[in-house]
Symmetry: C2
Subunit: 188 residues, 2 copies
DNA sequence: GTAGTCATGTAAGACGTTACATGATTCT
DNA sequence: AGAATCATGTAACGTCTTACATGACTAC
């Protein structure tokens, strides 16, 4: 349940509503959960029952009640505690890699076609992340330290997409030189 | 449900039991689901009810019955169909990146410590993947084409871990030069 | 007037994980 | 004798996704 920690972290940056959190999380490639992630609301309710967050209703009388959440000291403690946790390796669920793994079933030429489509999609993703990285510089409601972290994190994603693109180019080049079945001999 | 396609792919390579699939999947960094992934059995039962796989009992009378599964033509069709699906971007659930994103809450020095621990873990993962890549060369029950794909896929993972390690080194270096709060100024 | 955004929430499902249960065989 | 591995399966759980429901306000 990383969404719990993501919420704690965002609320530490500034108190905000569930809707604000939802927008931030869905537009962030790093906090990449569903764009319509209503788990946020249930998690907020749970966090409140555990005393990690408190909420005030701004503009009373409105519908639905606009609840602004903020961290309690207990919530801050949990966040700090999690931040000190030993880091874990990234989980890379690369569905394409599984497709690739069984691709010798495909007719010749089809793999090349798919690799090209993948390369195109990666290029777009890299452009998007670099735009995000640039945009994070102009976020006014963050401290310089927070902006630095955000920019470095966005760069991390762009780096990985670039790495993937390089890998595709390498494989694609190999496919041009020789068909799949003879690829291995070069390595031996 | 990528485990479904992974099973179809593995059964295409060779008929085998659920236990065999489980070992292969749990030891593969690419097909990285739980090491004790009993979802495989339920998926096999489902695939059978849909006519994608068939099973024979080898060594009848044993307990539990050793069921060897193989693909039907319908299963092969589904696999081929999925292989031609337009490729999707990798889902990188990098929990560490979320930790990093909120790390300005941490006392100075603690972030550097965590980055170092992360770098160490990445180095180990890279060594492991390169060992896996080497090992895939000597798998006897695969065709040369399949071995080539497997080796390239293993290399893909090693590439990503290396990319992550480079990123950590970059960040770490920046931390030495200047504290977090002044990091951004260099970029502006 | 209808589409979109603001704003909160419930409920059902998909997917993956963990724990448990059973019992045979093989290794130490 | 006890532990590990072989081998299959069920059940509960945790996490994330999708769909639905409500209703106000704003923009075209």
């Amino acid at each position: 349940m990383t969404i719990r920690q993501a919420i704690l972290g965002l609320l530490f940056q500034q108190p905000q509503t569930g809707y604000d959190l939802k927008k931030t999380i869905s537009s962030s490639s790093i906090l990449h959960w569903s764009g319509n992630n209503n788990q946020i609301y249930t998690t907020l309710i749970q966090l409140k029952s555990e005393g990690c967050v408190e909420s005030d209703i701004s503009e009373p009388g409105g519908y639905p009640a606009r609840k602004v959440y903020r961290l309690t000291s207990s919530g801050k403690a949990e966040l700090l505690n999690w931040l000190s946790t030993p880091p874990a390796l990234p989980e890379m669920k690369n569905h394409f890699l599984i497709q690739f793994l069984f691709a010798d079933t495909l007719p010749a030429g089809k793999l090349a076609e798919i690799l090209d489509a993948y390369a195109e999609e990666l290029s777009q993703a890299i452009a998007f992340e670099q735009e995000q990285s640039r945009r994070s510089l102009s976020e006014t409601n963050l401290t310089p330290g927070q902006r630095a972290l955000q920019q470095l994190a966005a760069q991390n994603l762009a780096d990985h997409y670039t790495c993937e693109l390089n890998w595709v180019a390498k494989v694609r080049k190999g496919l041009n030189v020789s068909p799949l079945t003879t690829l291995l001999k070069e390595e031996e």
